[in-house]
Symmetry: C2
Subunit: 165 residues, 2 copies
Amino acid sequence: EQAEVVGVTSDKKVAKVTLLNVADRPGIAAEVFEELADRNISIRLIIQSASSESRARITFILDEEFVDGALEALDRWKAEQLASDVLVDRDVAKISIVGSGLGSTPGLAARMFKALAREGINIDCISSSEMKVACVIASRHLERAVKVVHEEFFKAQPQPVAGVA
Amino acid sequence: EQAEVVGVTSDKKVAKVTLLNVADRPGIAAEVFEELADRNISIRLIIQSASSESRARITFILDEEFVDGALEALDRWKAEQLASDVLVDRDVAKISIVGSGLGSTPGLAARMFKALAREGINIDCISSSEMKVACVIASRHLERAVKVVHEEFFKAQPQPVAGVA
Ligand SMILES: C[C@@H](O)[C@H](N)C(=O)O
Ligand SMILES: C[C@@H](O)[C@H](N)C(=O)O
């Protein structure tokens, strides 16, 4: 499986919601995302790292246009203590490398992280799979981030990336 | 964009490593994954949800055959206090729904989570993108999980899935 990074994608018009200290038991994730689906809110990215002491943290990224439609649900989750706190951050952006076989080639994700680190850009969230490594960063860094990550994988020539979502 | 779930994939031969309380500053993720790449260790999934109080939690999933090769690095990260603790869990499995446009159709991820919840299966980690929603669960639940998630999306008739990789 020859891995290949075929493009760098980014999205500035997104926001991040984090649910702190949700109960780590079956049904919680279903309840949260069913409620968002009922409100017809699309979610771009869902991230939950491993929980501990039966508490979990769920982060999701959505288009900023949907945030206001979600606020009622967020308020209720806090009132009903589904989460100890619900944080909304509109000053975030998403940058991803896309390709094939990314998971089976050691070092591709590390190169992306290193390019961001050299620029002093902090990584707020990470979600990766075989075809994509996505980082959430502060939106003010996005232009610089796209430039350095693009240079890392494509060096001199900018790659035309037709049809990569 | 008509979303479509075209398959359910799973992997039982994986392990989960969690780095607790890493410093949330540029360069940490690069250091961790560069070290794993130097040891030629492929990483299947990287998950970091939003950090707080300048501490982050990084979870990664790797093939169980690579765990022993990573232990030396894990021990050193703990000794050098890159992480307050490093947890290894070999009793995990990964289950994913794959398709297109998953992120822009509200409810597909929720249906997967609900199918697992009905079976009393706890979701330990989540990582989703436009093309895939992956959950980490206890390996003992994997067969049941694949069955109920497959039934949720494909019901009685197995879907003809021509031409999908
Ligand atoms: C936290 C949440 O993912 C929970 N463990 C669930 O299964 O729904
Ligand atoms: C925790 C880690 O992701 C850190 N924020 C970094 O940028 O490397």
